[in-house]
Symmetry: C2
Subunit: 384 residues, 2 copies
């Protein structure tokens, strides 16, 4: 039976951490996020191989895994650095040793801008702007801290969120950046977020073709006034092949490829097959905890360990068993043949990986059925 | 302009914490969870007043706020203790001074049962069972740690999740509990989770009437074999008036009333009005961060600071402004009159409060436009 709770590096298994190295996978306290380290490594190698083949940089998106350790694995494989979305994320990554960070977002709060500029004392920091007024705000902070901030002008190439229209507005902001002390214009942020999850290949391709057209129009407008555009950064796991082959993008910002999720699995290629060659490397490990109905089981993974915004999770490697409903702390699993027993473990492929990872403090890295390492979710909850 | 980042009790504002006491509400780093302390106190008083009037205990649900400090406010107002859903939550509450905890859920993992029994050295611990086999598991751990665990048999009174059918199955389990060393049978867990969010008054009432019937049938069956049922625990913010007036329930397990959310606001009373007299006391404070379109603004609160499983948040106190879409780090806000400016703050009423609170490390308690205190989300992420 069970011995007293064990400690690993001062942390209590079951309270502070869901597992400890050396433990069999079956003993992990659930619900927990489990990484198949072999699959993760293959995914990292595969995406880097594509970027290398295309002659573009891979700037992995840290907003997905929020882990400095995984970022380091990606950088060791050849990634040029990371991007992230929040100043507190950038702080977490830089404090944990990442030295090249693109904040692929707008930062307008004075204290946040100040924090970002301070960070440029410790790492190369780039940031996006989509408003002429933002240029003076960033410049003020950069000068105050005696640093140089790299700036990308963000264009809205179809997602309808942040970003200016392509063309003249970009030229205006770029000229202001060039004139502003403490700032260096490096290029364009052109992420078509609206295309990533589009299922149909032709439709997705058309959206990226249009984004590429807008980027080309903008770089031409910049060239016409003598401004070189060193960097064009964008792309995600759903569209990276298009941007990678465009001859226009210089940097890919993919994130989800490292773990994959159920939603990305539904994005289709030219033949109508799942587009992605990437493997599922991240799972929510869950246990059956109640079994009072003949045809369903209750598991211990509900809304507090996953985000269901893009759909429910998919049960991995088990046919005939369906995760059908999530409440706060429970999942209802349909088990028409009544095969599941109390304590049985299931691996769930999350519906949407980014907000799911953000709920957890730890990844449990497993290999060959054993826990190999615990990986902290360095920037979990760093939303400011 | 901004001075260097400030520290409060060794924590860095903007990185570790979203604000510090004394700060104007407008300076809180967003996105952040903000509590209107006056409204929270009124909600606590109101629910306790109802329980006192009905002569039932209020056992507040800690799974909602996950805060030992707020639990203490509720206990100071008259609550008998708390309930929670996970062993790690119970550990967090007990380690932070809460001495009466009902784990209103099934616990079947051997290490978790062991952890729960250990906790009974420091607090009164009660737990639910819905399976005869669970009795021996709990008894073994209680004896091992030399403690007494209070046990409630959970009946499935309509939610279709955990719990046995009412009647004979309960009698069997109760008799086993009574015979088991280290366990004490105290009554029934009878929470009708499926009724809480039903909009229509008559429909909701019918569901609870049926639950009350099942409870009565079960307590009668227990009485028939000489077993007294000291405690019948259940009810939530959507239905508590029915259970409170039933004469059968002895303990209410309400949680959401303290903060309220957009979903509960849609639950209707007899007249078709919002049923709840409780005020919105918790908000996601968010800032406008991009404004490149004429009719919409982009705010900094997306899927990583709220759960949208029960719908999008509602903008508080502003007409004509609608939170229309959430992506990972952004919210798209429709602003047809173009009134919002960069840096403007909005208060969002979360769609679903429990999984939203679980995303955050801190509540910022405000009163009279100023930050009064920071309240840690003690059991955030404690899912094991």
């Amino acid at each position: 039976m069970v011995s007293t709770p064990r400690f690993f590096e001062g942390r209590e298994v079951g309270y502070d951490i869901p597992a400890m190295p050396g433990m069999p996978e079956a003993d992990i306290q659930t619900p927990a996020l489990v990484i198949d380290l072999d699959a993760l490594e293959r995914n990292i190698t595969r995406m880097q191989g594509f970027a290398d083949e295309m002659g573009v940089r891979l700037r992995v998106h840290g907003k997905m895994h929020k882990s400095a350790d995984i970022a380091r694995m990606q950088i060791a494989a050849g990634a040029c650095g990371i991007c992230c979305q929040k100043v507190a994320e950038a702080e977490a990554f830089v404090r944990h040793g990442i030295t090249d960070v693109l904040l692929s977002n707008q930062v307008r709060d004075p204290l946040k801008i100040d924090r970002l500029a301070r960070l440029a004392n410790m790492a190369r920091i780039a940031v996006c702007v989509d408003d002429p007024d933002a240029v003076a705000e960033l410049s003020y902070a950069a000068v105050r801290h005696g640093v140089m901030l790299d700036v990308l002008v963000e264009i809205d190439c179809g997602a309808g969120r942040c970003g200016v229209a392509c063309g003249a507005a970009v030229v205006d902001i770029a000229q202001r950046v060039i004139a502003a002390p403490g700032l260096r214009f490096v290029g364009l942020q052109a992420y078509q977020g609206g295309a990533q999850h589009v299922r149909d290949y032709a439709e997705r391709k058309a959206l990226i073709t249009e984004a590429v057209r807008q980027v080309s129009e903008t770089t031409a407008a910049l060239r016409a006034v003598g401004i070189a555009c060193k960097t064009v950064s964008g792309a995600g796991t759903g569209s990276y092949e298009f941007e990678g082959r465009s001859g226009v993008y210089t940097e890919l910002q993919c994130g989800s490829y490292a773990f994959m999720d159920a939603d990305y699995r539904q994005v289709r290629d030219r033949q109508g097959e799942p587009v992605s060659a990437f493997e599922h490397a991240l799972f929510i490990l869950t246990s059956v905890m109640s079994r009072t109905k003949a045809d369903k089981a209750i598991v211990d993974a509900g809304l507090k360990v996953q985000s269901v915004d893009s759909g429910l999770p998919v049960v991995f490697g088990r046919s005939g068993i369906v995760y059908a409903k999530a409440t706060d702390e429970h999942g209802v699993v349909l088990d028409p043949d009544g095969t599941l027993r109390i304590g049985d473990k299931l691996k769930l492929i999350p519906g949407h990986i980014d907000p799911t990872c953000n709920l957890h403090d730890w990844y449990v890295g497993v290999r060959g059925g054993r826990v190999e390492r615990l990986i902290p979710v360095t920037a979990r909850g760093k939303a400011w």
